[in-house]
Symmetry: C2
Amino acid sequence: MGAAKETLGEEQPWAEVSPDAARRLLIAAVEAFAERGYHATTTRDIAGRAGMSPAALYIHYKTKEELLHRISRLGHEKALAVLRTAADGGGTAAERLADAVRSFVRWHAGHHMTARVVQYELDALGPEHRTEIVALRRKSDAAVREIINDGVRAGEFDVPDVPGTTLAVLSLCIDVARWFNTAGHRTPDEVGALYADLVLRMVGAEPGVAGAGAGAGVAG
Amino acid sequence: MGAAKETLGEEQPWAEVSPDAARRLLIAAVEAFAERGYHATTTRDIAGRAGMSPAALYIHYKTKEELLHRISRLGHEKALAVLRTAADGGGTAAERLADAVRSFVRWHAGHHMTARVVQYELDALGPEHRTEIVALRRKSDAAVREIINDGVRAGEFDVPDVPGTTLAVLSLCIDVARWFNTAGHRTPDEVGALYADLVLRMVGAEPGVAGAGAGAGVAG
DNA sequence: CACTTGCCTAAGCGCTTGCTCACCCGCAGG
DNA sequence: CCTGCGGGTGAGCAAGCGCTTAGGCAAGTG
């Protein structure tokens, strides 16, 4: 019952980071940044969590900011991939929107530590890194807006303000990273299902048109 | 056109803070915390923005954390007051919910600097101050949940999961503080109207039941 | 064996941080 | 005039910060 330590869901996804010491440092940084924020986290803290001396960090990363950049980029790429998989899947616009919201929310809840860093520590990045990440965000926005536009064109949705509604839908999903595991005892799957339903209502889709639809895991 | 510097809407609300120097410091702190975050803001920066020497801050506030606490408490109290005014107003549940969301969102957009600090710098508070603020938050949650429960009882709303939907509604409103004036050219009134409509859809209210409803200003 | 290479540490440098302290100034009361 | 007092400053302290440097140690290669 309840959310497991996330470690199970968090240790495999960073498999692309090597060598092993660099990955351990990155995981330690994700935890520290998520708990206390980037600026309140010291390099000594990160190294300590990874079981290393402070200097070890600088063998694998040039600066503390580079660590945040790596986390932010990888995290955004994964979240975007999850979104696009659903967006490019088959089915009606309602089905695709429900699928997108369900998996996007599931990712944010299941990886809420990573998601929190990715979504809320953006301002701590340097200017160039920041603009790079903002570009990735715009792609997420475009993916959602496209589905909603499709639904409007097909007559499935009733949406007076498409950009505004797109913004609200994404905002709703992203904010999951802030409150998840701070507020309650829901599983990522439950939150994903609830939010998919709420979003279908927001766009005025016919009730029950894309209701159930399980789906595999949280994905990497 | 567009959002004025917020200064107009921000300088009067802090009228309850005295003496004048203490208020200037507090306003400077709100700006700095909102722009860069609590931990990235230095006491020298705050004092500088207020046109004072670094030491002047400690005449009016014991610590930097006390400044954040003051901002957080006053901000939460104001936001809660705005919410309750709408919640305790007359009318159907749909009307009250729309009113609550509209004014709550309008406050978050109109005072987005204060709101950002209030909503996103909570973890920077010390333990006791933090729990005090969390208690205020629960009251906001209760206010919204009560309206939704009323609507369900009256048969106005169709809400399978009341706690979950309450959480989502508040989450949606709060996140306005994150993206407002970073994303676009909407006025607080426009965002409030859009969000009130979206929330009515989320709870399955009859369309057009609490549609227009202007309302005065953003309130203090 | 000697020598290189990759990973890691102990020590610490230069700087900034939150905060303090001794002192100063304008002004009201006597 | 002097005195006291609330509000202000300049200088600076102790601590902690991000990051560097010199060196150690185990494994791989001739």
